[in-house]
Amino acid sequence: MADLAIYCTKHQDTDLKFTLAKPLSQEVDGDHGNVIVPLVLDFKEGGTPLRANGLANVVLLKNRETWKISAFTFTQQ
């Protein structure tokens, strides 16, 4: 998350808003899982409103009975 903040600071990105759509896939293999979900990202870059449509791939790990996020990536379509 700190890396994302550094990226946002560098590119003067502010006011990020994530809008999720219906997940494309959910896969579980033991205590590992990942969810691919379409994502619309609204943000401002240097004060200019922008919109990015893409996919978020969220990688999760199961710790006992709780799923926790290990990493996520966003790919613009």
Partner: protein, 140 residues
């Protein structure tokens, strides 16, 4: 003399066909093999059906236990909802707390709120970011 009823039925012997098709009262007593053996035959068949039924049920239950746990779809249905709720919660928290974009130079929003609990652990960069936000050992 008819010795083996099931085998004769399966082969369709003339004696059995005649015994089955002819009226009962026209047949001689010794030739009415079907009528004489029916109760015994029925009893045996019913018992076998019961055992077979139990056996088939046991096999079916065993198959469900053996293969049911290995169906990826079944696992995804049970565990997938938990994963998805975490993902939804994370992005909701990200929107609510402006996570990852707390403004230029503002790191105070990072690792706060419920979103921090959704992660496995803080990365090296996150720990550095937190310490910077708290003003500890950051060199600034």
């Amino acid at each position: 003399m008819i010795a083996d009823w099931p085998s004769l039925v399966s082969y369709g012997s003339p004696q059995v066909r005649r015994a089955c098709s002819a009226p009962q009262h026209n047949l001689p007593r010794e030739g009415n093999y079907r009528e004489r053996t029916r109760p015994y035959y029925r009893r045996v068949v019913t018992k076998l059906e019961g055992n077979e039924l139990k056996r088939s049920r046991s096999v079916m239950i065993a198959l469900v236990f053996l293969y049911g746990a290995n169906i990826p779809g079944a696992i995804a249905q049970t565990d997938g909802s938990g994963m998805l709720s975490v993902v939804i919660m994370f992005f909701a928290e990200a929107n609510a707390h402006n996570i990852g974009c707390g403004g230029r130079g503002d790191r105070s929003q990072i690792d706060k709120g419920a979103a921090s609990a959704l992660f496995v652990e803080q990365s090296v960069s996150d720990r550095r970011g937190s310490s910077m936000a708290l003003g500890r050992n950051n060199g600034f």
